[in-house]
């Protein structure tokens, strides 16, 4: 902005009076209703012309008091609320909650139910990463990949609707098993979807990931290196993109994950530096392939049998406390649950990955262009339902 400066300002201005430019810090509010913030996140940005000097995320617009609510509802009734935390990866949220309560109760889950749980959790991971791929390309100005990604995601949602009854908020994984059985026809369709999906991921990567414009927008942008991940407690694909081979499914196995053979993709800095936005994108794309690998093994190994274990009608865990953590599409999800022997939990604390990821934003943002900040926010893939809870 060019101003006619007063004499006093000319004396103060670092550019001298010839430039006639006054450098001033401008505060811009990005969000809460901004298409690039993926929900209702408000980022207060202090900008020096195009350069971001400070970014302060303001959260809480989607706060629904989950933790307080959970102290008033029985263990079964919490499952629909758990769905609504991370509504893009609802199956994974349910899985973690049910594992926590089952550990308190000491319930045995039938083998078939375990297989179905892993199946739906991995399908959900693919759906979630497809959502990331679609919205991230929209953030960076490409609309077409979004439509392609949603076409494949639609198949997963349709399968979920058939087996669980809902498209987004399933209430499918129950304490002691799963609600409904999967038919052979559905398993066959998932199998053919897996074959199709491999080619689709390669196609997406050719369409977007290797595109020079995309690479220029994402490589060397928003670098979150190993030290930063340790400092801020970043987990999931962000930690892996920084080159750390850490996946709870492999390193702290739960459910029947130890029986499956899959790799943990890590960022290598192929296009820029390790831990930049492009690496985060590429880790997620490769994770989808690993998920498909797991799904194939589930389809081969699935056993016949009941899908619901023996659980009493009223769930009353003994007086105890537990912390269970699972690997969700966005990172590590932890439930800290205190039971006092009654029908309702005494305290539920959720350690959500998105919340910690947002907290790292002020550390990455300074020195970036505003457009790069959009790319950074998109690449950490937050769901505001999980941030605020």
């Amino acid at each position: 902005m060019a101003f006619d400066l007063t004499n006093e300002e000319k004396a103060e201005s670092p550019y001298g009076d010839e430039e006639k430019i006054k450098s001033n810090i401008l505060t811009v509010n990005m969000g809460p209703q901004h298409p690039a913030t993926h929900g209702v996140l408000r980022v207060e940005i202090k900008t020096d012309s195009e350069i971001v000097t400070e970014a302060i995320p303001h959260i809480g617009y989607l706060h629904r008091c989950f933790e307080k609510h959970a102290e008033n509802i029985d263990y079964r009734g919490i499952i629909p609320f758990v769905d609504r935390m991370d509504y893009i990866g609802a199956m994974n949220m349910e899985h973690g909650w049910c594992l926590a309560v089952e550990k308190l109760l000491g319930t045995e889950v039938p083998r078939r139910a375990e297989y179905i749980r892993v199946l739906v959790a991995e399908l959900q991971r693919v759906a979630s990463h497809l959502m990331f791929f679609g919205t991230y390309s929209i953030d960076l100005g490409a609309f077409t990949p979004f439509l392609y990604a949603f076409q494949e995601r639609e198949f997963i949602l349709r399968i979920f609707e058939e087996i669980s009854g809902a498209r987004l908020l399933y209430n499918y994984i129950w304490i002691g098993g799963v609600w409904n059985d999967v038919t052979d026809d559905q398993l066959n369709r998932i199998s053919s979807f897996c074959d199709n999906m491999e080619d689709e991921i390669d196609k997406y990567h050719n369409l977007v990931g290797l595109n020079k414009i995309f690479v220029e927008r994402t490589a060397r942008v928003g670098v979150m290196d190993k030290e930063m991940c340790y400092d801020y407690g970043l987990t999931g694909p962000i930690l892996r993109s920084a080159g750390v081979k850490w996946d709870l499914r492999k390193d702290r196995p739960y459910s029947i994950y130890p029986e499956f053979d899959f790799d943990v993709p890590v960022g290598t800095g192929e296009q820029g530096t390790v831990g930049d936005c492009w690496d985060r994108y590429w880790v997620r794309m490769r994770e989808m392939k690993e998920s498909l690998k797991i799904i194939r093994q589930v389809l081969e190994g699935i056993e016949a049998g009941p899908v619901m274990g023996k659980v009493s009608k009223i769930i009353k865990p003994p007086k105890s406390e537990i912390y269970v953590r699972t690997e969700c599409p966005r990172g590590e999800l932890g439930y800290y649950l205190i039971a006092d022997g009654g029908k309702i939990p005494y305290r539920v604390k959720v350690k959500s990955s998105c919340f910690t990821h947002v907290s790292a934003l002020p550390a990455v943002a300074p020195g970036q262009m505003i457009a790069d900040l959009v790319a950074t926010i998109g690449s950490i893939d937050i769901v505001l339902g999980e941030v605020d809870r």
Binding site: R76, G77, Q151, I213, T273
Partner: protein, 167 residues
């Protein structure tokens, strides 16, 4: 953190241009294939309607003739959107039974579900002992006011849905 771009040389300058052309062409071949070879996957909604899967959870329907007013659905509901009122049946009154033979001991006077509050979790239908409360696959029921979303299933006009949506 090494965020600096590598220095621009004569070779890398033209190399970048060549890569840009190559990758954009690669992407455009994919989109062109979609234009030419792929069939549209979207449907034009009001004219073409998708049939929802059988298990799909949409509007709740309570077949009040089979309801024994046991209150289990209202207890299971995590958002407390089911309101039930009932009175004790006279001993002299003729004995009636539900479809599956459960004797009805209470007269249902009110069975209201606030559909605007309902979260479609399906917990109420699974606890129903007589299967009178079910999720239908009917999803087109928008209203002008929130009050209209409260359905008392004892009213005649709501009983009339039965023929339309209950199989």
């Amino acid at each position: 953190m090494n965020t600096a771009t590598p220095p621009l040389t004569f070779k890398s300058y033209f190399g970048n241009i060549w890569t840009a052309f190559r990758t954009i062409f690669k992407g455009l071949t994919i989109t062109t294939r979609y234009i030419v070879a792929e069939k549209p996957v979207t449907i034009e909604y009001p004219e073409v309607r998708e049939v929802l899967p059988e298990l799909s959870r949409s509007r709740l329907y309570n077949d009040v003739e089979n309801c024994i007013a046991c209150n289990q659905c209202a207890t299971a509901c995590p958002v407390d959107c089911i309101y039930i009122a009932s009175t004790r049946r006279d001993k002299e009154a003729p004995k009636i039974k539900t479809k599956d033979g459960t004797p009805i001991r209470l007269n249902l006077t009110q069975y209201t579900i606030d559909t605007a509050l309902c979260c479609y979790c399906g917990l109420c239908t699974t606890v129903c002992p007589t299967q009178s409360l079910t999720h239908t696959t009917d999803y087109e029921y928008s209203q002008y006011t929130v009050d209209e979303m409260k359905y008392n299933y004892l009213e005649e006009d709501i009983k009339a849905w039965r023929d339309r949506i209950v199989k």
